[in-house]
């Protein structure tokens, strides 16, 4: 009976994911965003029986497996070719966004620390993937993960629609638009879609810059794991430290998500021994796994939780996006 519920839960993920993908094909909404929307609609209207929960809950495994497979498509050579200018812009944007969101949300607006960190990671590195990666390393609350993911996805939808016309209105070059979208939009899918909506050249540059940004996910995840491990050890009023928080580098590594090992391994394999056809296949598989993952994310998303979180985190990301988007526009106009 348990196995039956598990399999039906998996089927529910697949049905919602495919529905999102089909919806993405006939509307401007990207398939991944549509999968979350369909999932949230089903989960918050008709719902699903508890016995399907284990199957639906596998969406986290599919997301991590999707990220591992995405590693094969990371173009290490292209990252090197992009040169120090793009690398400098990427690092400056990631660090700047992290600090901006942390200072504004936690320092000024008193947003909970871990929710702030999830929002900062999502906005600065690679959207929901970064949110989930950092969430695993800092043991974040499930409702915070759902809220940060939903907030990031909302901005993904907004920027996907807004960026191409703004870029064309401002007369940005193809390379300039690619760099602008790649450094400031949140998630890889919408960056790719927005880039190729302008031109193939803009699309290639957008993806290249975005992948460079994505490569920083490991650094940001480990940095946050280190920060929160230290916070746990020094907190006087907290519960006794759990077994996962060992000392120094050991503690950091024990908190770091294991799937990053696979991501880095696939990045090396994808750039050395794997054939181009195999890399294409793995990227396709990664996209399908993301569809399952985002369907599950939507199914488990509770709109009541979002309402109780308030609009402040949304306003923080809006301020961050407007600030860095405008700043990067000026830089791109000067350099490209």
């Amino acid at each position: 009976m348990r196995t039956h519920g598990f399999v039906v839960g998996l089927l529910l993920l697949a049905v919602v994911g495919v529905a999102g993908w089909l919806l993405g094909g006939v509307t401007p909404v990207p398939g991944l965003v549509a999968a979350v929307a369909v999932g949230a609609l089903v989960g918050n209207s008709v719902g699903y029986p508890d016995r399907l929960g284990a199957g639906v809950g596998t969406h986290k495994l599919w997301l991590e497996t999707g990220i591992v497979l995405m590693g094969a498509g990371i173009a290490l050579g292209a990252v090197v070719e992009a040169g120090p200018t793009v690398l400098g812009l990427v690092v400056a944007t990631v660090v700047g966004t992290l600090l901006f969101v942390e200072l504004l949300a936690r320092g000024v607006l008193s947003v909970p620390a871990k929710l702030t960190s999830l929002l900062a990671a999502g906005a600065s590195v690679c959207g929901v993937s970064a949110v989930v990666s950092v969430a695993g390393s800092i043991d974040a609350d499930e409702s915070h993960v759902a809220y940060a993911s939903a907030t990031v996805l909302a901005f993904d939808a907004l920027t996907l629609v807004a960026y191409p016309p703004i870029g064309q209105f401002l007369g940005l070059s193809d390379v300039g638009f690619g760099v602008w979208a790649g450094t400031t939009m949140f998630s890889t899918g919408p960056v790719t879609a927005a880039g190729f909506a302008v031109s193939p050249t803009a699309g290639r540059w957008a993806v290249l810059v975005k992948l460079t940004r994505n490569a920083l996910i490991g650094v940001v995840t480990v940095a946050y794991a280190m920060y929160y491990a230290r916070r746990r050890r020094t907190a006087n009023d907290a519960a006794p430290a759990d077994a996962s928080g060992g000392p120094g580098l050991t503690g950091v590594l024990s908190n770091a998500p294991r799937f990053l090992v696979g991501f880095l391994l696939l990045a090396v394999l994808g750039n050395t021994v794997l054939s181009a056809g195999a890399v294409d296949m793995l990227e396709t598989a990664s996209n399908w796994l993301f569809l399952l993952a985002f369907a599950g994310l939507g199914l488990e998303l509770r709109l009541d939780d979002l309402r109780s979180a308030g609009l402040t985190p949304m306003a923080v990301l809006a301020a961050s996006l407007v600030t860095f988007s405008a700043a990067m526009l000026v830089v791109v106009e000067m350099l490209f």
Binding site: L61, T65, I67, L69, F259, G262, G277, A278
Partner: protein, 42 residues
């Protein structure tokens, strides 16, 4: 229901390691598929 040893081994893995194992299986299959020039849909 008594678990088989293979199921125990799989269940004992952390979710992240499961993702790594699945990723590596997919990689081996994809590489074999293209080297053997098996048909690709889509």
């Amino acid at each position: 229901v008594t678990d088989r040893p293979t199921t125990d081994w799989w269940r004992s893995l952390d979710r992240g390691w499961k993702a790594v194992v699945l990723g590596l299986i997919c990689t081996v299959v994809a590489q074999f598929w293209t080297v053997a020039q098996l048909p690709v849909w889509g």
